[in-house]
Amino acid sequence: MLPKRATNAMRHLPPCGGGREGGQPRPGFPVTLFILRRLLTFAATLFVAALIIFILLDLLPGDPARFILGINASEASVAALRTQMGLDAPAHERFFGWIAGMVRGDFGISATQRVAIGGLIAERMAVTLPLTMMAMVLSMLIGLPLGIVAAMRRGKPADTGLMILAQTGIAIPNFWFGMLLTLVFAVALRWLPTGGFTPWHENPGAAFRGLILPGLALALPQASILARVMRTALVDVTGQDFIRTARAKGLTRSEAIWRHGLRNAFLPVLTILGLQFAFLIAGTIIVENVFYLPGLGRLIFTAVSERDLTLVRSATIVLVLAVTATMFITDLLYTLVDPRLRRQNA
C-alpha cells in the first residue's frame, strides 16, 4: 500500500531554504516588474502557440480553393483561385506575414467568406465572450453560495444533499443538459428562445435572453465544481490558526469564517476560476452547436470544414489569447488579493 507521509513534519518547514525561524522582514518586490515579467511570458506563450498552430495548419490536407469551387470545377479555376488567395507563397513568409498582420490588427481576408477576418472574429467574440462571462457569473452565483452553505453546515443533511447535487452536476455532460433545458424552458414553457442570437445592437434584451439557457448549460458543471472547491477551501480555512485567533478576539465561529475565512478561502477558488475560463471556452464550442449561437467555436468549426486556413489560425489564436489572458489576469488578481505574492516571482 502507499506510504503514509510525514504530515507533521510539513508544518515545521521553513518557508524558504534558510533557518526555520524564517523571520527577516522582506523587502517588497516591485509589482510593475512582476507584471512586466508576466507580460513577457504571456507574449512568448502566444508566439509559441501561434507557431504550433501555423505548423499544424500548414500540414492540413484539403485545398480551400477546391472546396470553394466544389465537385465540378476545373483545375484551372481552382489554380486561379489558389493564386488569388496567396496560398503559393513560402511557409515562413506566410507565417511572419500573418504575425506582422496581427500585430497591426490586420487578420487578413477569409478564404471562403471573402471578408476581413478581424471583423468576423469580433462579431463572434460579441457572442462567445458574453456567453462565457454569463456562464462564469452564473456558476459563481450558484456555486459559491452553495459551497459556503455546505461548509457552514458541514456534516449536516444540507451539506450531504448539496454535495450529492454537485456530484451529479459535474457528471452530466453539458450539451445533454443544454438539450434538456431547451426542452423544458423553450419548447414546453416557451419562456426563452430555443437558441439563436439577436445581435446586441438590435435588441440587447433579446440578446441577453438568448444567452441564458446556454449560459446555464455551461455553468452547471462549473458551478458544481465551484461549490465543491468553495466548500473544501472554507473547511480548510476553518481549521487554520488565524480563525482560532479571530475567535479568540471575540468572534463566534461563523463570524470568524465570514470575516477572515472567506477571503482566504477565495484564493484556491480564484485559481479554479482562472482554470474554468479555459473549460468554459472549450465548452462554448460544444454548446454553441446545441443552441445555434454564432460564437467563435462554431466559426472555427465551420472554417476547418471549409479549409479556410487563414480564418482557422486567426480564430484559434484569439481563443488561445483569451485563455492565456485569463491566466495572466488571474495571476494579477492573485497578486492583488494575496499580499504575500507581491514580492515573489515564481
Binding site: 511570458t41 459535474i170 455532460p173 473547511v235 485559481t271
Partner: protein, 282 residues
C-alpha cells in the same frame, strides 16, 4: 496503509466498486456481447426492453445492451489512454522541474503554459483535421490536455517533498537529480497522482462524450457513450430511451469515479484535501 483502512471509507468502496463494475462490463464486451454491435437489422429497430434485448434496440436495430457495453469500453479506453499520456509525460515533466529546477523548471512551466492555452476541443479540432476524427484523435486531444495538469500537480507535490530533509539526505548520499526524482519524489507524490488520475479519468469520459457528440471522437461502426448520445439526439422526442441509456451511464460512471476519487483522497492522505484541489481541470 492496508486494505482494511481503505475499506473504512464507504465512499471509496462504493465509488470504486461501481466504477470497476462499469469497467468490467466494458471489458466483457471484448469477448462477448449479447449481439454483435456491427450487426444491423433495420427491421428490428426501436424495440423496447424485452427478454431478447434487455435494453431494447437502437435506430439501426442494434442491441442497446451490447452497444452500452462496447461504448463503455471505448469511453474508458479513451479516457484511460489519455490518462496514460498525461501521466506518462506530465509526471516526468513535473518531477524534472522539481528535481533540476532552474532552466528545466522554466521550460516545463512554459511548455505547460502553452499546452494549457489550447482548450481540448481546439486541440481535437486541429488533430481531427490532420488525422481525421476517431478514438485516436480523442485520446490525443484529451491526453495532451492532461499533460500540463499532471505536470503541475507533480511539480507542486514534488516541490513540497523536495524540501524534506530525506531528499537532502539522498543528495548527501550522492544521488543525482534523476535518482532523487525516482527514489524519493515519485513514490511520495504517488497518492497525489492517483487521486488526480481518478479525477482526470472521469473528466476524460466526459470529454470523450463531448468530442464524440460534435463528431470528432469515436466513429461508427465502433461506438462510445458519447456517440450513442449523438446518434440519439435527434430522436430524443420520439425515442427518449435511446438517449437516456447512454446519458445515465455516463452520469453514473462519472459520479462513481468522482466518489472514488474523494474516497481515495480521504483514505490516502487527509492533507490531499487541500492540495489536490485541481478539480476544475477538464
Amino acid at each position: 496503509m492496508n486494505w482494511q483502512r481503505l475499506l473504512r471509507h464507504p465512499s471509496l468502496v462504493i465509488g470504486l466498486g461501481a466504477a470497476t463494475a462499469f469497467a468490467l462490463l466494458g471489458l466483457i464486451s471484448l469477448v462477448w456481447t449479447p449481439y454483435p454491435i456491427e450487426q444491423i437489422v433495420v427491421a428490428r429497430r426501436f424495440l423496447g426492453p424485452d427478454p431478447a434485448h434487455w435494453l431494447g434496440t437502437d435506430h439501426l436495430g442494434r442491441d442497446m445492451l451490447s452497444l452500452v457495453m462496447s461504448g463503455t469500453l471505448t469511453s474508458f479506453l479513451v479516457a484511460f489512454s489519455a490518462l496514460v499520456i498525461g501521466v506518462g509525460i506530465g509526471v516526468p515533466m513535473g518531477l524534472a522541474a522539481a528535481a533540476w529546477g532552474g532552466a528545466v523548471e522554466w521550460l516545463v512551466l512554459r511548455i505547460s503554459d502553452v499546452t494549457f492555452a489550447f482548450p481540448s476541443v481546439v486541440i481535437a479540432i486541429l488533430i481531427a483535421t490532420l488525422a481525421g476524427p476517431g478514438e485516436l484523435n480523442a485520446i490525443l486531444a484529451i491526453g495532451i490536455f492532461n499533460i500540463p495538469v499532471f505536470a503541475r500537480v507533480a511539480r507542486g507535490g514534488a516541490l513540497a517533498v523536495a524540501t524534506q530533509d530525506y531528499v537532502a539526505a539522498g543528495r548527501l548520499a550522492g544521488l543525482g537529480n534523476a535518482a532523487i526524482a525516482a527514489r524519493h519524489l515519485l513514490p511520495n507524490i504517488a497518492s497525489l497522482i492517483i487521486v488526480q488520475a481518478t479525477i482526470q479519468l472521469s473528466l476524460g469520459i466526459l470529454a470523450e462524450a463531448g468530442l464524440s457528440y460534435i463528431g470528432l471522437g469515436t466513429q461508427a461502426p465502433a461506438t462510445s457513450l458519447g456517440l450513442m448520445l449523438r446518434d440519439s439526439q435527434s430522436l430524443f422526442l420520439i425515442h427518449p430511451w435511446l438517449g437516456i441509456v447512454p446519458g445515465l451511464t455516463i452520469v453514473l460512471i462519472v459520479i462513481a469515479l468522482n466518489i472514488a476519487g474523494d474516497g481515495l483522497r480521504d483514505a490516502l492522505d487527509p492533507r490531499l484535501r487541500r492540495e489536490g484541489l485541481n478539480h476544475g481541470a477538464g
